[in-house]
C-alpha cells in the first residue's frame, strides 16, 4: 500500500470526524452538547494535522505545532464553555429570584 493511499484513508477518517462533529454542533440544543460537537471537529483537525506531519512534511515541525494549537483551542473552548454554563445557571436562578420578589412587591 502506498503512503499516499494511507494518507487518504486517514484524512477521510478526519473528514468523517469533522462531518459528525458539525452535525452535532449544529443540531444539539444544549451548550454542553454543542461543545462536544466542536470537540469532535477539533479531533478531526488533530488527526489531519498528525497525518500531514507524517506523510507530507515530517522534516518541519509546523504540522506538530498545528496539533498543539488545536489541543489548546480545545482546552480553552472547554474551560470557557464550562464557565459560561455555570454563569448561565446562576443567572437563571437569579432571574427566578427577581421574578419572585417582583410578584411580592
Amino acid at each position: 500500500m502506498t503512503a499516499e493511499l494511507v494518507l487518504q484513508i486517514v484524512l477521510t477518517v478526519a473528514a468523517g470526524l469533522i462531518g459528525v462533529g458539525l452535525f452535532g454542533a449544529l443540531s444539539q440544543q444544549t451548550i454542553v452538547m454543542v461543545m462536544m460537537g466542536l470537540e469532535l471537529v477539533l479531533n478531526g483537525v488533530l488527526l489531519a494535522g498528525g497525518a500531514a506531519w507524517y506523510f507530507l512534511a515530517p522534516e518541519l515541525p509546523d504540522a506538530q505545532m498545528l496539533v498543539v494549537v488545536a489541543l489548546v483551542v480545545m482546552a480553552v473552548e472547554m474551560a470557557m464553555g464550562f464557565a459560561v454554563t455555570v454563569a448561565f445557571y446562576r443567572a437563571r436562578q437569579l432571574d427566578m429570584i427577581d421574578m419572585a420578589s417582583d410578584l411580592r412587591g
Binding site: V86, Y89, R90, R92, Q93, L94
Partner: protein, 375 residues
C-alpha cells in the same frame, strides 16, 4: 474436586463479617469483636463486601426488617448467624464459616435473593417520601430503595434522575425522577433523598438519618431510632473506660484510621482482663495519647459539629481519650436527636458521619430525652 474444595476452604477461612448489634448487647458485641480480631476476620463496610452476617441479640421488628433487606444484598457465598448469648458465639462463628465453605447446591443460587426491583416495591409502603432520590443523576435506584438500606443507604438510594429541566415526574425503573432545588452554591443541583443507617460501620445501630443530599451536602436532616419506644431500657452498665475506648474505636473507624481503631479495641478488651491491669492501662493510655495528640486528626476532623459549650467533634473525641486513659471526666448532657440533626444540617456526608460518631447516641438516652423524633 478435592483440591477445589480445599482451595475453597482456604479462601473462605477468614470471612468478612458484618456485625449488626441489637440495642443492649454491648458486652456481647465486645466479646465478638475481640474474637474476630483474634481470628483475623476483617470487618465488612457494606453488604457487597460481606460474607458472614452476624446478628447479635434480638432486633426489634423494624430493625429485623432492615436486616432482612441488608441480608438480601449480601452475595453468595454468604451465611447468616444469629447470636443471642455470650457463650455461643465462638461455636456460632465456626459453624458460620463451615456453612460458608459448603458449596451451594446448583440451583439454589438466587434463591432468597429478590430482584432489586421487587425490593423496591416492598419498601414502598414504608417510605413514600423516599422516592425521588436523585442523585446527581442517575436515575433509578439502586437496589432496594431505601430503608433498608442497610448499610449505607446506598443501596438504595439512588435515584432519580437528574434531570433538570424536565420536571416530568416520570418514573424510571420503578423510581420517580429527582427534581432540582436551590443549593448553597446557587447551582440548582439535583436533590436526592437518602437514608443513612440503620446499620453502618461506626454508626449507632438502629439510628436512621433521612436527609436530602445535593452533591455530597446533607440538608433537611431528620433522625429517628428504629423501634423507638420498644427498646429495653436495660443499659449495659459497663466500665466507663471500656465504653470510652469502644466509642473511640467507632470514631476512628469512621475517620478511616484502622490501626488506631484496632489498638483502641485491643486496649478495651485488655482492660476487661483482670490479669494484667498495668499493661492494659498502658495500652489504653498509648492509644488515647496517640489520638488526642494527632495533628493530622486535628487537621482533618477539627472544627466540625461545633455545639455550643460542648466544643467540636474533636473536643468530644479528646474527652473520650481522657476517659479512655482513666481520668475522670464529667458527662456532657445527652443530646436530643433534633440537636444532632441541627449539627449535621449543611454538612458534607463524611463530616456528618464523623459528627454522629463523635456523639454518644443510644436509643436509651433518646427515650429519656423528651423531644426525640418518632419514626
Amino acid at each position: 474436586m478435592d483440591v477445589i474444595a480445599r482451595l475453597r476452604t482456604w479462601a473462605l477461612a477468614r470471612p468478612r463479617v458484618l456485625l449488626v448489634d441489637a440495642p443492649g448487647v454491648t458486652m456481647l458485641r465486645w466479646s465478638v469483636e475481640a474474637e474476630l480480631d483474634r481470628r483475623g476476620w476483617p470487618c465488612a463496610v457494606s453488604p457487597a463486601d460481606t460474607d458472614l452476617l452476624v446478628v447479635l441479640g434480638e432486633p426489634g421488628p423494624e430493625l429485623a426488617e432492615a436486616v432482612e433487606v441488608l441480608w438480601s444484598q449480601v452475595l453468595e457465598p454468604r451465611h447468616r448467624v444469629d447470636v443471642q448469648r455470650t457463650e455461643d458465639f465462638a461455636v456460632a462463628l465456626d459453624q458460620g464459616r463451615a456453612a460458608l465453605v459448603r458449596p451451594a447446591e446448583s440451583g439454589t443460587k438466587g434463591d432468597g435473593r429478590p430482584s432489586p426491583a421487587s425490593l423496591l416495591g416492598k419498601d414502598e409502603k414504608e417510605d413514600a417520601q423516599d422516592e425521588g432520590m436523585g442523585q446527581a443523576g442517575h436515575e433509578g435506584m439502586g437496589q432496594a430503595g431505601h430503608e433498608g438500606m442497610g448499610q449505607a443507604g446506598h443501596e438504595g438510594m439512588d435515584h432519580g434522575g437528574g434531570h433538570e429541566g424536565m420536571d416530568h415526574g416520570g418514573e424510571v425503573a420503578g423510581l420517580p425522577m429527582a427534581s432540582t432545588g436551590p443549593d448553597r452554591d446557587g447551582l440548582e443541583l439535583d436533590v436526592l433523598k437518602v437514608a443513612l443507617g440503620p446499620v453502618l460501620l461506626g454508626w449507632p445501630t438502629g439510628l436512621v438519618l433521612r436527609a436530602d443530599l445535593q452533591g455530597d451536602v446533607l440538608t433537611s436532616a431528620e433522625l429517628a431510632w428504629l423501634d423507638a419506644g420498644t427498646v429495653s431500657t436495660a443499659h449495659d452498665q459497663s466500665n466507663s473506660q471500656r465504653a470510652a475506648l469502644d466509642r473511640l474505636a467507632h470514631f476512628l473507624d469512621v475517620a478511616g484510621w484502622p490501626t488506631a481503631a484496632r489498638d483502641a479495641r485491643r486496649a478495651r478488651d485488655r482492660v476487661a482482663e483482670e490479669a494484667n491491669r498495668d499493661e492494659a492501662q498502658r495500652l489504653a493510655e498509648a492509644v488515647a495519647r496517640r489520638v488526642s495528640r494527632s495533628r493530622t486528626l486535628a487537621w482533618t476532623a477539627g472544627g466540625i459539629g461545633r455545639r455550643g459549650s460542648g466544643g467540636d467533634a474533636l473536643d468530644r473525641v479528646r474527652r473520650w481519650c481522657d476517659m479512655a486513659s482513666g481520668q475522670p471526666v464529667e458527662d456532657l448532657p445527652a443530646m436530643s436527636l433534633d440537636g444532632v440533626a441541627a449539627l449535621v444540617e449543611g454538612a458534607e456526608i463524611g463530616s456528618a458521619r464523623l459528627i454522629v460518631a463523635s456523639l454518644d447516641l443510644s436509643p436509651v438516652s433518646a427515650v429519656s430525652a423528651p423531644e426525640h423524633l418518632h419514626a
